[in-house]
């Protein structure tokens, strides 16, 4: 069957009422959490995992992907109206978008962001549909050594290539890798680093770590930072609609943003924040009126918003075809697949073709839903921004602990008559870790990616080594792995040269942080 037929069947499946409802819940939740500062798609999906345990796998995954897409839409609203990005990929949008809002052009800024996200989401999702089968065909020829090289590349791009310090990125990654060792070794049944604690035998749950790092770490960091507690919301003044000139200035930016964002997401080159930043610099150099940049240039909103949506769709290419998460949200979605006993990768396309294609098709539908949610209903989302911070963060912690208890509510520890949930103790410990990481400028995403990808990389490494009877040279035998290592070296080397040539500040902006 060709891609059109598969996609067509996917669309029929996606149009089922049940799947439409899941998609609608996903995009609505996604938009809401994208709008709310302090809570992003990664955290939301992590919190929903225990709730969806008994639900339909396809529906749940459609909902998760909807949350991811919705988060990218919603984040722009916060950036434009609050000047505090709702999620990290929208940091750049705040540069021009908030200036536009201050000039009373908040409406057109929101419109170009929403329509740009729609255009990008549509093109990029089609890109996903047509590229995925090729990647799958290619990936079927991968041996364990190639997979290991691929994971090394992902580790490098997630942790060291961007951000202001490869040292801190790699440290974050190795903390995640270290946590990934804890528990019973899948292949030999040996216990590692459990220190006699029974609760550690199953290893550290990705969701517990993610919820702690994102929800609790972020809450503590925000509470200690007085600047973040008070920020003013700009009211939308004037018309929401874009003028003819706005359209003329936006459309090319949308397309450029899409074609910058999609490959960056698809090539494991980092998250949406990098794409939106590169798109912003591109718009700046293409602009007919570069003097407007910094004072509310609509291109500076249109391009990056298209880029971050396109890259979110792009991220699904390595996730679905190779099982390789390159952002925190993708890592949690991988945990979601695993919860249902599904392992993303080339075999998923063979064994669960129906599920994969209905997921991809639902993303197309989700895009239409998001356009409706974000243009006519924008006023509703703006109201979310007026929730006072104390209630918002108190609520976030309620849901964070709820999700953790829902996943594992066993009261397995205790002293005297007081029984204690071990999972909540872990949540607290990792929450404090999350705060410290933020305080000292460590990125968060590499910890999460390290935890979930570490054991997978180990498995491939050991497979490769056992084929060669322990000879590490096997890792460098195939041309594919050599190319991947070369790309990894370039990914580290190029930014270092840029830093050395005094462009460190630019890279600092690219910090692969939240989602």
């Amino acid at each position: 069957m060709n891609t059109f037929e598969l996609l067509g069947q996917g669309l029929i499946a996606a149009m089922q009422v049940q799947n439409l409802i899941y998609a609608l819940i996903g995009v609505t939740l996604g938009t809401a959490v994208g709008v709310l500062p302090g809570i992003g798609p990664a955290l939301t999906v992590a919190l929903l995992l225990p709730v969806t345990y008994n639900l339909d796998p396809a529906g749940s995954l459609i909902m998760f992907a909807g949350i991811y897409y919705g988060g990218m839409y919603g984040g722009s609203t916060t950036s434009i109206l609050l000047n505090t990005p709702g999620e990290s990929a929208s940091i750049v949008t705040a540069l021009e978008g908030n200036k536009m809002a201050r000039q009373g052009r908040g409406g057109p800024a929101l419109a170009t962001a929403a329509i740009g996200s729609f255009v990008a989401g549509l093109i990029a999702t089609l890109g996903l549909a047509f590229i995925a089968p090729f990647v799958v065909k290619f990936a079927l020829s991968f041996g364990p050594a190639d997979y290991f090289a691929l994971m090394i590349l992902a580790f490098i791009t997630v942790s060291a290539a961007f951000g202001d310090s490869p040292l801190r990125g790699l440290t974050a990654l190795f903390i995640g890798l270290g946590l990934g060792i804890i528990g019973i070794d899948q292949q030999t049944g040996q216990t590692r680093l459990a220190f006699g604690v029974l609760d550690l035998l199953d290893g550290i749950e990705v969701t517990t770590l993610a919820v702690a790092l994102f929800a609790i770490g972020e809450t503590i960091k925000t509470a200690t930072d007085p600047d973040q507690i008070k920020a003013e919301v700009m009211a939308i003044k004037g018309s929401v609609w874009m003028t003819l000139e706005d359209w003329k200035r936006s459309w090319a930016s949308w397309l450029r943003g899409t074609f910058i964002g999609f490959p960056i997401g698809a090539m494991p080159a980092g998250g949406a924040d990098i794409a939106s930043f590169l798109s912003y610099s591109a718009e700046k150099s293409f602009a007919k009126k570069p003097e407007e940049f910094g004072h509310g240039a609509i291109e500076g909103v249109a391009g990056p918003e298209a880029a971050n949506n396109a890259s979110a769709a792009g991220t699904l290419v390595p996730l679905l075809t190779l099982g390789l998460p390159t952002t925190a949200t993708a890592a949690i979605m991988l945990a979601g697949f695993q919860q249902f006993g599904l392992q993303p990768g080339p075999l998923l396309f063979a064994n669960n073709a129906g599920l994969v294609w209905s997921l991809i098709a639902s993303l197309l539908i989700a895009n239409f839903m998001l356009l409706v949610l974000n243009l006519p209903l924008i006023g509703l989302w703006v109201k979310l921004l007026t929730i006072p911070k104390p209630w918002l963060y108190a609520g976030i912690l309620v849901f964070a602990t709820l999700g953790t208890l829902g996943a594992n509510g066993a009261m397995s520890m205790g002293f005297g008559s007081v029984r204690i949930s071990f999972e909540l103790v872990l949540l607290l410990a990792f929450g404090v870790l999350g705060y410290l990481l933020r305080r000292f400028g460590y990125p968060i995403a590499p910890v999460v990616v390290g935890l979930i990808l570490g054991p997978m990389a180990e498995q491939q490494l050991r497979r490769a080594l056992s084929i060669s009877q322990g000879d590490p040279a096997v890792l460098f035998h195939s041309p594919i792995s050599l190319v991947l290592y070369a790309v990894a070296i370039i990914a580290v080397g190029l930014p270092m040269i840029m830093r050395w040539r005094g462009k460190g500040a630019v890279l600092g902006q690219l910090a692969s942080d939240e989602d």
């Binding site: 509510g409 490494l461 322990g470």
Partner: protein, 165 residues
């Protein structure tokens, strides 16, 4: 961000030195724990100890890197953090952990809710704790009853749902 800025006149970053020591300690612990594992000879080269040794080595190198970075003040400037809010939020989480098995989800989480709000400067507790308990109960009801999530029950939940303690 002051990445890469080396200023030898400033004192080394004390907190960053502590981080370097912690990383080194974790590396040593992984080395030590892994060396304690009894591995059959056939698994010596490809067994469960290979990856922990790689990670421990990496952490050791990163500890050295962090040490150098700390001495050269390579860490981004930090604002002076206010420790009051941290105490409230961590205190709220500890209180919830301790109360959960006896007082139930609504009360324990209500306390967490109120303490967190207090960390953000919203009080007084005698007002926010009841608000938190009511909110947490509603959340409990939706998730435990509606979505079949297993959440700890206490006297409050039992009384409202079944009518007796």
């Amino acid at each position: 961000m002051s990445a890469g800025q080396s200023n030898s006149t400033r004192r080394p970053d004390g907190a960053a030195l502590v981080i370097a020591v912690i990383l080194a300690a974790i590396s040593i612990i992984i080395f030590w724990q892994t060396s304690q594992m009894r591995v059959p000879p056939i698994q010596q080269r490809v067994g469960p100890t290979v990856f922990p040794y790689i990670v421990a080595t990496g952490l050791g190198l990163l500890a050295v890197g962090t040490l150098i970075s700390a001495l050269r003040n390579g860490f981004p400037a930090r604002s002076k953090d206010d420790f009051g809010p941290i105490a409230w939020i961590v205190g709220g989480l500890v209180a919830q952990i301790l109360l959960l098995s006896t007082a139930g989800f609504a009360v324990a989480t209500g306390v967490l809710f109120a303490f967190t709000a207090k960390g953000f400067g919203r009080g007084p507790l005698w007002q926010t704790i009841p608000i938190g308990v009511v909110f947490s109960f509603i959340v409990w009801f939706i998730f435990a009853r509606g979505l079949q999530l297993s959440l700890p029950m206490g006297p409050v939940e039992r009384f409202i749902v079944t009518g007796s303690f």
